[in-house]
Each structure stands twice: as structure tokens, then as C-alpha cells.
């Protein structure tokens, strides 16, 4: 299990943005979605999730809205904004650059 602190900086924001491309989700939904998608390898701690969401809100990369869930509970749903989608692109290319670079270093070693 990889904790957030072990992640490369900025990757949590990127993963949240990516997760939201599939549609609006609440905080718990985002956490479990990342967990599921990573085959339970990545566990997003609540301690990092909510500050990260606030950071994304502040940058206008996501929007928040109170809506009812399927079980009719009130929850805050986050939606990706256009700016957020653009940002995801930027982060993804940076991330790929980084991964390739790291990969090369590891291969040569």
C-alpha cells in the first residue's frame, strides 16, 4: 500500500483531476475510485484528500456543488472545470516526461 507521502508531489492533484473526467464525484467517491483503479495499491488519505480538493477549488480547476446521492444523502460533488481539464493535460505530459526520465535512469543503472 502506497501512502500519499510516498507519492511524487503533485500526482494526487493529477489523479483527482483524472478521476473527475469520468463525471462528478464526492470526496469518498474520489478516494474509493482511486483505490479501485490502482488495484488497491494507492490509498488516498482523507488528510490529504480534502486539503487537495480545496486547493483545486481555489485554482478553479474543479467546482463543488451540494447534491443528493443515490441513497438520498446530501454530499458535496466535485466537477472538473474546463481549466481543470487543461491543467490535467499539462500535468499528464509533465508526469509522462518525468516517468520516462526516471525509467531511463533506472534502466541504465
Amino acid at each position: 500500500m502506497v501512502k500519499k507521502s510516498d507519492l511524487m508531489p503533485g500526482t494526487l492533484d493529477m489523479m483527482i483531476l483524472k478521476t473527475l473526467t469520468r463525471g462528478p464525484l464526492h470526496g469518498y467517491g474520489i478516494a474509493s475510485s482511486i483505490k479501485r483503479a490502482s488495484d488497491e495499491v494507492l490509498t488516498v488519505e482523507e488528510g490529504s484528500l480534502y486539503p487537495a480538493l480545496q486547493r483545486l477549488l481555489l485554482q478553479n480547476w474543479v467546482k463543488a456543488e451540494w447534491k443528493a446521492t443515490e441513497t438520498n444523502r446530501r454530499a458535496r460533488f466535485y466537477t472538473l472545470t474546463v481549466a481543470g481539464r487543461k491543467q490535467l493535460g499539462v500535468e499528464r505530459s509533465q508526469f509522462e516526461l518525468m516517468i520516462t526520465a526516471i525509467g531511463r535512469v533506472m534502466q541504465d543503472a
Binding site: S32, E46, A52, Q54, R55, L57, L58, R73, A75
Partner: protein
């Protein structure tokens, strides 16, 4: 610069911290519940699931804080910033005080003037639907807007389809008995629906009923609230009582509300109906009214004007004798009421805005200097881990503290300024601008204040942020805070000072032009000697002096007794004093000249025999009147030079005859003399043709007394009333004033003086601020270049060349500032051409004087730093590092 909006977003979060917290609480609770549910689905016991969820979630308070730190700033850090800002500001009290006072001056001036603009131009008139009220009048060749004849008014009222109501008003005056003798009191006569058209209902009693303005109606009167308080002690039973006006009992039917004001007849205390038409109102050719109309729904002023013009045309065809050339004017009522004060208020607002601009530029340049000297502090804080946003916030906090203090101080300046300005308006002048009394710090004025403070805050926050563009932070640590950055600063700072100087030039030129026009206005050619003249208004009660011989006898006695007073050389009467306004005109026709029915309009004045001698007006040709020229003698007149030039070009008018438009034999009179052009109209009005008739041949009961004195004319004033009341205590004497005083207090002089003084005040402040700004820039530049100067001097530069270097830099800035300012000033002056009198907007002496004054002041401001530079000790300068 995304920093700024994000700052406000954070600020918003701070203000809504409770909501932020509760939302986060709810969100986290939801998260825990979901987790609990998930665990239970895996088969964990409910109790254990709950505990696990809570445990796994961690410390919620800490979590919330973490989230909050991302979004808002914790209150403690705001407090820290504030604390630090205040400490920083207190550490340099000179800077802080200068900045706050400058800001307060700029904000105070703008807010005070805006408050007047608000009360005069923005606040709606205190009537019902004031925007659908129109001012309706006639227009003639000489006047764009002239009085309306009662007969025409009656036809206009009947024939028009654009006004739901059209009501007329005119001024009047009545003698009333007071414990201290008779007193002439200004009043107004109106048609019955006058107050209904304005939508004003009496505070006490009833309105005039329809038809109360018809012949035979009882004598009723409405009194103003102020009159009720001062003359009737505010007694509630005043309604129903009678008051004697000119000896006739009138029943008081109402007290008008305290808030009632009607600027065109601002000083009227008694409001009566026109149920008894006077001689003028019975004749279609005599004009003495104005009207107020209520536009029907969907009717614009332009439509109403078209309609009234076509009605005027009809009447012109119907009554060619009296109505030829008589058109109509319709304008919004507010235009009539505030139209004359608007340009002056706007000029003042412009002046105040420029002053504020200078103040802001000055404070920005001070901030720039400070940010420069704080580069190191900022760099150290940055190196110790302060985030760029935190550093920015520090500047914003400092700007907010400055602006807030400056704004509050400015508001109190504005409050005092408004009241001082109000106090400076004399009571007589106030009657014509009653709406100014409503000036106060209302919501609009406060919003305006908030707006300019916000702008200033953004400007001040941006200045250092822009300057210390955050990439430059690290440089601050290694260099001594000099070098390239110093050059950059000099460039920005220099631009700022050029702007300041240019604005100062504009204000100085504006003040100079206004001051010079005002001086010219007071020193126009009056056509008589205005000094050593005492004046008063004398009202003869018509009950005793209605007949000619009685009036002649009493005026002779008054003039004889007044002339016998000590210190008085001669005394005379005119039915209208000089410099009180053109108007009261007569239509004339010249015997022996072709006449095509046009209206030859001339000022008509009745004067006593010694009038011109008393005024010391020059006789150009012929003779003045003889004392015995009364109704028993042939009718004679004296005309002025303009009259002679206009109607008798190249001829000798003496001996010629003129008459009314149909040359009625009884109207024919002979010109016996030509007098110099006595200024009858306002100071800024041109001299009109005028005819003067002997008072003894044309009685009038409202007379202006003019007394030539050998001693100080002020000393004679109190004796005038006493002397006249000795003859008959029933004669009203009012408005004793010196001629010079009357000229200085006339409305035109008044408006122009206020404008000249206020803009002058702004200009002096602007000069001061501009020069301080220049001093600051030069002094700072010298302090930055101490080492350079030391090196130069060590290498053999003379003191004189150091002086030259510094003064050259200052000279460039001054030169560019003054040059740009002069260009702007000419453009701005062209905009306020309407306020200038006898002077062109590019008046060279004014422009030259301003350039010299500002140039000299700038030289002085840069001399001191230059001297400091020249006295730099090279050894110390080099060692100082």
C-alpha cells in the same frame, strides 16, 4: 497577476469561515459514514466499523485546519500581518504620516465635492416624479428663456396636449407689520394647482382649491415652514389666522412642509394665488411669469417643446402685435434649477479628482521608495520560507492599513469641509441653491468613498508587488540593493513625478484662469463708480402712495432727508439697481424710422433726476433729467451708448422721439441725453441698450436707493432706514448693502469666486504635493547614487559638476512635467471655457506664470538634495559600504 483575485477569494473565505467549517464537517461526516457502511458490508460489526472509520479518518479538527490553511488564511496569520504592517508603518512615522495625510487630503477633497455634486446633481428634486416635470417659458430674441405673459400662459394651458398640468408662478413682495416696524417680505404668486403639479402637500392645512386663482376668490396664503417658525412661533393654530400683507388681511390656509424648496423662488415666504391679475398680467405684451408643467405619460421634453412652439406660432399669427418673435422653451425642471451650478460643480469635482490623483501617485512613489529599501527584508523573509503569496499579502495588508487610515481621516476632513463650505454660502445665496443644504455623508457618498479607497488600495498593493516581481527576490540578498534595480526604480519613479507635475500644472492653470476671470469680472467697466455707494431697497406701501403726486412728494422727501445725512453727498432712486440683471424690458419703435413689426427690446429703468450724478456715470451727449420733470412736462428719456450705437448709428439721437410698437401718442418720448453704458446686467452679461425714464413721470413702489457718500459707505447704511422711517414708519426698507458688497455677493460673482477659491486651494495643495514628490524622487536618487558620486569626486569631479548632474536630472523631469502639463492644461481649459470671462483658455501670462512658479519651486525642491550630493565626502561615501 492572479494573486489579487485569489487574495479576495481567500478573503471571502475568511469572512465565511463558519460556513466553510460546517460544510467541511458535513462532507467528512458523509465520508465516515460511507466508510463505515463499506466496512459493515465486509462483515465488520457495526460498533467496530464505526470505531475503525473514525480511527482511519484521523483527527478531524486537524484535518479541517489543513483544508482551511489551503483555502483561507488562518486568522492568526492575518493578525500577524496586520500587526507587522502597523509595526512597519510605525517604524517610519514620517512616511506613514505623510502618506496618510496626503491620502486624506485627496480623499477628503473629492468626497466633500462629490457630496455637493450628489446633493445638487444626483439626488432627485424633492417633488413627485421630478423627471417628468418641465420648466416652461417663452423665448425672445434677446433671451433664450424669457418670462411668460399671463395671457399667453392661459392659452398655452388650454391648447396644449402634452402636459397633464401646467401651472405658473411669479415672485412678489409684500410689506408686513412686525414688532420692529414694517418689513418687505419676499413672496410668490402661483396658479391654484402649483403645489399639486409639484406633488407637494402642505404640512398643515389645505392646498389651494381649483379656482382659488380666479377673480373674486378670497385672499388666502400659504406660508413656508421656516416663516411659520420664525414669524408665528410654530403655533399649531396658525391655520385660519389672518396676516396683513400690504395692509390687506389674508387668511393663512396652510403651512408648507419643512422640506419644501423651490429654487427659482427660493426666498419666498408667502405663497398666494394670482386671483387678482396685476396690470402686467392683463396685457398680453407684458411678461412676468414662468411655468412648471407635468409631462403626460410617454411625452418627452422634445415633444413638448415642439408642441409649445407650434402653439406659440399660432398665437403669433393671432396676436402679431404682442407675440411677434415670441417662441417657447421647454426644458427639464432640474435643468432650470441646477443648470447654472453644474459646470462649476463638475470643474470642482475634476479639480478634486486631480488632487486625489496627485496624492495617490505621490503615495505610490513613496511606497516604491520603501519597497526599494525593503528589498533586503523581503529577500530575507523569502529565504526564511515566507511564500510569495504571504509576502504579497504583507504589502496588501500595509496598503489596506494606509488606505483605511487615510480614508477615515479623509472622511472626517470631508465632513468638516462640507460644513465649512456650507457656512461660507451666505443666506441670500442659499435661497437660490436650497438643495445644497441637503449635503451630507449619505449612502451614495460613502459608496463613492469606498470606491476610491478600493482603487487606491489596489494601486498601492500593486505598486510594490509589481516592483518586487517575485523572481527578483533572490537578487535582493546578494547585491546591496542598488545597480540595475535602482535604474529601474528611477525610471518608474521619474514617470510618476512627471505625471504629478503635469497634474499640478493643470490645476494651477485652472486656478489661475478662474482667478483671473474672477478678477476681470469684478473689474469690468461698470460705467459708474461703484465705490462709496450705499444702496437699499425701499418699498412704498401702495395704500398710501398709489397716486403719482403722492409718490413724487414722498420720494423727494426721502431723497432730501437722506442727502442731508452726514457723510452723504447725494441720493437717488432707480426702480432697479445696477448690476442686478438685464430684463424688465420695453419694446420700442423709433419715430421716423422704418418699422417692420420686430421687437426692439431695450432695458427700461425709471430713475430720479440725480441718479447719474450719484452714480458718477458720464454724460456723453445732451443732458440728464431736471428735478421738475414730472407728469406735467413732456415725456423725456436718456439712452445709453449701446442704444445710440444700435438704433442711431452715425446719427445724433438727442432730440429724436421713440414710442411703443404702435407709436401711441401718449407713449411718445423725446431723447434728451446719452449716458455712458451703466452695467445693468450681471457681471458676465453684455450691456444691452437701455432707456432711462424720469421716476417723477413713471411712479414705482419698489425702488432702489443709491447714495453717494464721502466717508466709508458702510457707516451710512444703518442711518438709511432710520431716516426713511422718520418720514413714514410704514415704508419698507430692506437689503441695505454697499454697491461693492452687492457686486461681490451677486450670484455670478459668488459662483465664480467659490470656483476660483476652491480650485485655487486644490492647486496650492497640488503644487505642494508635486514639489514634495519631486523632492522625494531627487533625494532618493541622490541617496542611491552616493557611492557613484563619491567615486566621481574621488576621480576629480568638481562640486559644481555634481550639482549640475543632479539639477540636470531634476530639470529634465520638471521640464517634461511642465511641458506635458501645459498641453493638458490648454485642453482642459478649453473644456471649462464656459466658466471663463474676458480671458482665453490659452492665456499666455497665466501659462507662463504657472511654468515659472512650478519651475522655481521644483528648482528649490531639487536644490537641497543636490547640495547634499555635492557635499558628499568621497572617502566616507566609499567606506560606507
Amino acid at each position: 497577476m492572479e494573486m489579487i483575485p485569489r487574495f479576495f477569494k481567500r478573503f471571502g473565505t475568511l469572512l465565511r469561515r463558519n460556513r466553510f467549517n460546517s460544510e467541511l464537517d458535513e462532507e467528512m461526516a458523509f465520508h465516515r459514514e460511507q466508510k463505515e457502511k463499506e466496512l459493515r458490508e465486509f462483515g465488520v460489526a457495526p460498533e467496530a466499523a464505526h470505531r475503525a472509520a473514525v480511527r482511519e479518518f484521523g483527527n478531524t479538527t486537524r484535518l479541517k485546519e489543513q483544508s482551511y490553511e489551503v483555502v483561507g488564511f488562518r486568522f492568526e496569520t492575518v493578525w500577524q500581518d496586520l500587526h507587522f504592517a502597523i509595526r512597519q508603518l510605525r517604524r517610519s512615522p514620517g512616511f506613514t504620516l505623510t502618506a496618510i495625510v496626503m491620502l486624506a487630503l485627496g480623499i477628503g477633497a473629492s468626497v466633500a465635492i462629490f457630496a455637493f455634486v450628489d446633493t445638487a446633481l444626483i439626488k432627485p428634486l424633492p417633488y413627485k416624479d421630478p423627471t417628468t416635470l418641465a420648466d416652461v417659458a417663452e423665448s425672445g430674441k434677446a433671451f433664450r428663456r424669457s418670462n411668460l405673459s399671463y395671457q399667453d400662459f392661459a392659452d398655452w394651458k388650454k391648447m396644449n396636449k402634452v402636459f397633464s398640468a401646467l401651472e405658473a408662478y411669479t415672485g412678489t413682495g409684500s410689506l408686513i407689520d412686525t414688532p420692529s416696524g414694517v418689513e418687505p417680505v419676499p413672496g410668490a404668486r402661483v396658479t391654484a394647482g402649483f403645489f399639486r403639479v409639484l406633488g407637494v402637500t402642505p404640512a398643515l392645512g389645505r392646498d389651494f382649491y381649483d379656482g382659488e386663482d380666479k377673480p373674486g376668490a378670497a385672499d388666502t396664503v400659504m406660508i413656508t415652514y421656516q416663516s411659520w417658525q420664525s414669524r408665528f412661533g410654530g403655533r399649531p393654530d396658525v391655520v385660519g389666522q389672518t396676516v396683513k400683507l400690504d395692509g390687506t388681511p389674508n387668511t393663512i390656509i396652510a403651512v408648507l412642509p419643512a422640506t419644501f424648496q423651490f429654487a427659482p423662488r427660493g426666498n419666498a415666504e408667502f405663497w398666494k394665488t394670482m386671483h387678482e391679475l396685476n396690470n402686467c398680467e392683463k396685457r398680453r405684451s407684458c411678461h412676468n411669469l414662468f411655468a412648471v408643467g407635468r409631462l403626460k405619460d410617454g411625452v418627452t421634453v422634445a415633444m413638448a417643446r415642439t408642441e409649445m412652439l407650434s402653439i406659440a406660432k399660432l398665437l403669433e399669427n393671432q396676436y402679431p402685435d404682442s407675440n411677434r418673435g415670441q417662441g417657447a422653451t421647454v426644458q427639464p425642471l432640474y435643468e432650470q434649477i441646477v443648470g447654472n451650478i453644474r459646470p462649476i460643480l463638475l470643474v470642482l469635482l475634476g479639480g478634486a479628482a486631480l488632487l486625489l490623483a496627485i496624492a495617490c501617485v505621490n503615495v505610490s512613489s513613496l511606497l516604491l521608495v520603501r519597497s526599494e529599501s525593503r528589498r533586503r527584508e523581503i529577500a530575507v523573509r523569502g529565504a526564511l520560507g515566507a511564500s510569495p503569496s504571504r509576502l504579497t499579502r504583507q504589502f496588501i495588508t500595509e496598503a489596506l492599513v494606509l488606505v483605511l487610515s487615510g480614508g477615515l481621516l479623509g472622511l472626517s476632513f470631508a465632513y468638516c469641509g462640507m460644513h465649512v463650505l456650507l457656512k461660507l454660502i451666505s443666506k441670500d445665496a442659499m435661497a437660490y441653491v436650497p438643495y445644497l443644504a441637503g449635503v451630507n455623508l449619505n449612502a451614495r457618498v460613502l459608496t463613492f468613498t469606498g470606491g476610491i479607497c478600493m482603487l487606491a488600495a489596489v494601486l498601492f498593493a500593486m505598486t510594490p508587488v509589481l516592483r518586487l516581481s517575485l523572481t527578483a527576490l533572490r537578487d535582493g540578498l546578494n547585491d546591496g540593493g542598488r545597480g540595475a534595480a535602482g535604474v529601474l526604480w528611477r525610471r518608474i519613479g521619474a514617470n510618476l513625478v512627471v505625471v504629478e507635475l503635469a497634474i499640478a500644472v493643470v490645476l494651477l492653470v485652472g486656478a489661475g484662469l478662474l482667478g483671473k476671470s474672477f478678477y476681470k469680472m469684478l473689474h469690468v467697466d461698470f460705467g459708474f463708480q461703484p465705490d462709496h455707494l450705499a444702496t437699499a431697497q425701499v418699498v412704498l406701501p401702495e395704500t398710501s402712495y398709489a397716486k403719482g403726486p403722492q409718490a413724487v412728494a414722498v420720494t423727494r422727501r426721502i431723497l432730501g432727508d437722506v442727502a442731508a445725512l452726514p457723510g452723504v453727498k447725494s441720493a437717488s432712486f432707480a426702480n432697479q439697481l445696477p448690476v442686478s440683471g438685464n430684463g424688465n424690458t420695453d419694446w420700442i419703435r423709433i419715430v421716423g424710422k422704418p418699422y417692420n413689426g420686430e421687437h426692439n427690446e431695450v432695458n427700461g429703468r425709471e430713475v430720479s433726476a440725480d441718479y447719474f450724478k450719484t452714480l458718477q456715470a458720464k454724460l456723453i451727449a445732451g443732458r440728464f433729467f431736471a428735478e421738475d420733470e414730472d407728469a406735467s412736462k413732456p415725456l423725456v428719456i436718456v439712452i445709453n451708448k449701446v442704444f445710440a450705437k444700435q438704433y442711431f448709428p452715425g446719427e445724433d439721437p438727442v432730440g429724436r422721439k421713440i414710442g411703443d410698437t404702435s407709436l401711441t401718442p401718449t407713449s411718445l418720448r423725446e431723447i434728451v441725453g446719452v449716458v455712458d453704458d451703466v452695467k445693468e446686467g450681471g457681471l458676465d452679461e453684455a450691456v444691452w441698450p437701455a432707456e432711462y425714464r424720469p421716476l417723477n413721470q413713471n411712479n414705482d413702489s419698489y425702488l432702489g436707493l443709491v447714495v453717494r457718500t464721502t466717508q466709508d459707505e458702510k457707516l451710512v447704511l444703518p442711518a438709511l432706514g432710520t431716516a426713511i422711517h422718520k418720514i413714514d414708519p410704514g415704508i419698507g426698507v430692506v437689503g441695505e448693502a454697499t454697491m461693492i458688497g452687492r457686486i461681490n455677493e451677486s450670484q455670478t460673482a459668488y459662483l465664480h469666486r467659490s470656483a476660483a477659491w476652491l480650485v485655487g486651494g486644490f492647486a496650492v495643495l497640488a503644487l505642494l504635493l508635486g514639489v514634495v514628490g519631486l523632492y522625494g524622487v531627487v533625494a532618493y536618487s541622490v541617496s542611491q547614487r552616493t557611492r557613484e558620486i563619491g567615486v566621481r569626486m574621488a576621480l576629480g569631479a568638481q562640486q559644481s559638476s555634481v550639482y549640475r548632474m543632479i539639477l540636470k536630472e531634476a530639470g529634465w523631469l520638471t521640464g517634461i512635467g511642465i511641458g506635458a502639463g501645459l498641453i493638458c492644461a490648454v485642453a482642459v481649459a478649453a473644456l471649462m471655457r464656459g466658466l471663463l470671462f474676458g480671458i482665453r483658455s490659452w492665456d499666455v501670462p497665466t501659462l507662463g506664470l504657472v511654468a515659472v512658479v512650478l519651475g522655481a519651486a521644483s528648482l528649490l525642491a531639487s536644490y537641497f538634495p543636490a547640495r547634499r550630493a555635492a557635499s558628499v565626502n568621497p572617502v566616507e561615501a566609499l567606506r560606507a559600504e
